[in-house]
C-alpha cells in the first residue's frame, strides 16, 4: 500500500478501486480512436456522416474493403511489408549478435570508446539522411527495390546496445568453463551466450520488426511504383488526389492494423516485455 502514495496526491486519496476505474475510463478513451476506425470502415457511406454518430454500425458492409482490394494492390503491399520487415529483422540480428559479443564478452583496448561512437549515432535518424541515401541507392541501381528500403535500417545502434546490455550480465565463469574445454569465441557465442539471451533476442526481433513495418519517410522516397509500396506508403496513396473518402481510408487503415492487433492480443505479454527492454537497462 505504501507505494500508492507515489501517485499524485489526489489520485492516492481516491482509493485503489476508484483509481483503477478512472484509469480504465482513460484507457477506453485512449483506444476509442482505433474502435472508431474499425466501425467507420464497415459503415455504408451515408451512415459515416450520420448525426448523431453511431458507434455500432446499423447496416455493416464490406463495400469499402472490396473497393480497397479491387482498386489497389493491397495484398501485394502487405507482402512487401512482410519482406522488408523480415529482411531488416533477420539481417539486424545476424550483424548485431557478433558485434555485441565483441563489445561485452571480449576485453580489448578502446572497446568502450568505439561502442560509444556507435551508440551516439542514435542521433542520426534515417530522416536526416534521406537525400544522401537517395543518391547512394541511385548509384547502386537499387531505387524502388526491397534492399533500398531495408539496407539503411540494419546498422541501427539499438541492436548492439540491447544485446550488449544483456550479454554483460551473463556470469563470466560460463565462458571460462567453456574455454577450458577448448571452445573458441564462436562456439562460446553459439553454445553459451545465445541460449541464455533469448529474451534479449526476442526484444530485438520485436523492436526491429515493428520499426521496419512502420517506417515511412525513407520508404516513401525509395519506392516509386505502387507495386513496390509497403503498407504505410500504400495507405498514404489511398488518400488520393480527389475527394477524401473516409470509408475507404478507414477500411484500408483497419486492414493494415488488423494483423498487428491480432498479434498483439496473442503476444501482449512478450511484446510489452520486449519493448520495455529496449528502453530500459
Amino acid at each position: 500500500m505504501a507505494r500508492l502514495r507515489v501517485v499524485p496526491v489526489t489520485a492516492a486519496r481516491l482509493g485503489p478501486r476508484l483509481l483503477v476505474a478512472v484509469v480504465a475510463a482513460l484507457a477506453l478513451l485512449w483506444v476509442a480512436p482505433i474502435a472508431w476506425m474499425f466501425t467507420t470502415g464497415i459503415k455504408p457511406a451515408p451512415e459515416i456522416f450520420a448525426l448523431p454518430p453511431t458507434w455500432i454500425p446499423q447496416r455493416p458492409t464490406l463495400d469499402h474493403v472490396h473497393e480497397v482490394l479491387s482498386r489497389w494492390p493491397f495484398l501485394r503491399w502487405t507482402l512487401n511489408s512482410v519482406v522488408v520487415a523480415g529482411a531488416t529483422t533477420v539481417l539486424s540480428v545476424l550483424v548485431s549478435v557478433p558485434a555485441a559479443y565483441a563489445f561485452s564478452r571480449l576485453r580489448w583496448r578502446g572497446r568502450d570508446a568505439i561502442f560509444l561512437v556507435f551508440l551516439s549515432s542514435m542521433l542520426i535518424p534515417l530522416e536526416v539522411n534521406v537525400i544522401p541515401l537517395y543518391f547512394l541507392m541511385n548509384r547502386l541501381h537499387l531505387l524502388n527495390t526491397y534492399p533500398a528500403v531495408f539496407l539503411p535500417m540494419i546498422g541501427m545502434p539499438i541492436g548492439i546496445f540491447l544485446l550488449r546490455q544483456f550479454y554483460i550480465n551473463i556470469p563470466g565463469e560460463l565462458d571460462d568453463a567453456a574455454r577450458v574445454d577448448g571452445c573458441g569465441n564462436l562456439r562460446i557465442l553459439w553454445h553459451v551466450i545465445l541460449p541464455l539471451s533469448r529474451p534479449a533476442l526476442a526484444a530485438l526481433v520485436i523492436y526491429m520488426f515493428t520499426f521496419a513495418w512502420n517506417e515511412f519517410f525513407w520508404s516513401m522516397i525509395a519506392l516509386s511504383s505502387p507495386q513496390m509500396f509497403t503498407l504505410p506508403i500504400g495507405l498514404r496513396a489511398l488518400q488520393g488526389a480527389y475527394d477524401i473518402d473516409y470509408g475507404v481510408l478507414m477500411a484500408g487503415a483497419a486492414m493494415a492494423v488488423l494483423p498487428t492487433l491480432m498479434l498483439f492480443l496473442f503476444l501482449r505479454g512478450s511484446i510489452i516485455r520486449g519493448i520495455t527492454m529496449t528502453a530500459h537497462k
Binding site: 507515489v6 482505433i34 565483441a102 536526416v128 537525400i131 519517410f217 498483439f264 501482449r268 528502453a279 530500459h280
Partner: protein, 292 residues
C-alpha cells in the same frame, strides 16, 4: 605476437558486419550529405560546386524560417506532452499494478505505438474532420464552439502534436514504469515512516531517481519531435497555406518536388545539427548518467 595479431583480427571480424552497414548507411551518408549540400545538382546529373550557397539560400528563404519556426513550435508542444503523458500514465499503471486488469489497461495505452504513422494520421484526420469529425461533434454537444483544428493556421500544429502524443506516449509509459519498478521498496517505507506526504515523496524521491529515464525519454522524443513528417503530410500536407509546413516536409518538397537536391541536403544537415545541439542541452541539463 602472432596470437595477439590473431586476436585483433578475430575481434575485427566480429564487429565488421555491423560496422560495414553502419558506415555505409548511417555515418557515411552524413558526410556524403554534407558534400551534396555544397553543390548545385542539375536534374540531368551535372553538379556544380557552389560552396555555402545552399545554406545562404536557406537563410534568405522566408519559407525555410517558417518551417523552422513551425518545427520548433511542434517540438515545444509535442515533446513535453509526450514525455508528460507517458510519465503520468506510468504512475497510474504503477499504482494499480497489484490488479490484474492493469496489464490490460497498460496494453491499451501502449497499443497506438505499434501503429504506422499513416494510420495515425488518417485516424486523426477523420477524428478532427471539420464537418463530421467526432471530436468536434462531441465538443459541440458539450456546448463548446471548437476551432476547425486542421483548417485553422493557429490550431493545425497543436492538433498534430496531440495526435503524436496519442501515438508515442505509450512507449515512454513503459520506460517510466520499468524505472519506477527499479526503485527499492525501502525508499518508500522510509519516507512513509518519516511521515512524508505523497507529493513530497514524489518530488524528493521518485523524480530524482527517475532522472536517467527522463533524460533518455527526452532525447528519444526530441529526435521524433524534430524529424516529424508523416503525421503532417497526411493530416494537413503542411497547410492551411504553409501554417504547418515543418523542416522535414520542406526538405522533401525541395528535394523531390523542386529537385533542389543540394538545398534539401543542406536542410538535412541543419536538422542533424539541431538534434545534436538539443541532445547536448538535455545532457547538460540532466547530467550524464542516462539509462544508456
Amino acid at each position: 605476437m602472432r596470437r595477439r595479431y590473431g586476436r585483433i583480427v578475430e575481434i575485427a571480424l566480429f564487429i565488421l558486419p555491423f560496422a560495414a552497414f553502419w558506415i555505409l548507411f548511417r555515418l557515411g551518408p552524413v558526410l556524403y550529405g554534407f558534400f551534396i549540400s555544397l553543390y548545385r545538382w542539375d536534374p540531368l546529373g551535372d553538379a556544380k560546386f557552389i560552396g555555402a550557397r545552399n545554406y545562404l539560400n536557406l537563410a534568405r528563404d522566408p519559407r525555410f524560417w517558417n518551417a523552422l519556426v513551425n518545427t520548433l513550435e511542434f517540438a515545444a508542444i509535442a515533446i513535453p506532452l509526450i514525455v508528460g503523458i507517458g510519465l503520468v500514465l506510468a504512475l497510474f499503471i504503477f499504482a494499480g499494478r497489484k490488479r490484474r486488469v492493469t496489464t490490460w489497461l497498460e496494453a491499451g495505452f501502449f497499443f497506438p505505438y505499434l501503429l504506422t504513422v499513416s494510420v495515425v494520421g488518417l485516424i486523426w484526420r477523420w477524428l478532427l474532420d471539420p464537418d463530421f469529425g467526432i471530436v468536434l461533434i462531441a465538443l459541440r454537444d458539450m456546448g463548446i464552439d471548437p476551432p476547425v483544428f486542421l483548417n485553422e493556421p493557429r490550431w493545425a500544429i497543436p492538433a498534430i502534436a496531440l495526435a503524436t502524443a496519442w501515438w508515442l506516449a505509450g512507449y515512454r509509459m513503459l520506460l517510466f514504469r520499468a524505472a519506477l519498478e527499479d526503485i527499492p521498496d525501502e525508499f518508500y517505507e522510509a519516507a512513509r515512516i518519516d511521515g512524508a506526504s505523497g507529493a513530497l515523496v514524489f518530488f524528493s524521491i521518485v523524480l530524482p531517481l527517475l532522472r536517467p529515464a527522463i533524460l533518455f525519454a527526452l532525447v528519444l522524443t526530441t529526435i521524433s519531435g524534430f524529424i516529424v513528417f508523416g503525421q503532417v503530410l497526411i493530416m494537413t500536407a503542411g497547410g492551411p497555406g504553409r501554417a504547418s509546413e515543418v523542416l522535414a516536409l520542406y526538405l522533401y518538397r525541395f528535394g523531390f518536388e523542386y529537385l533542389e537536391m543540394g538545398q534539401a541536403a543542406a536542410v538535412g544537415m541543419v536538422l542533424f545539427l539541431i538534434i545534436l545541439g538539443m541532445t547536448l542541452v538535455s545532457f547538460r541539463w540532466l547530467g550524464f548518467e542516462s539509462s544508456l
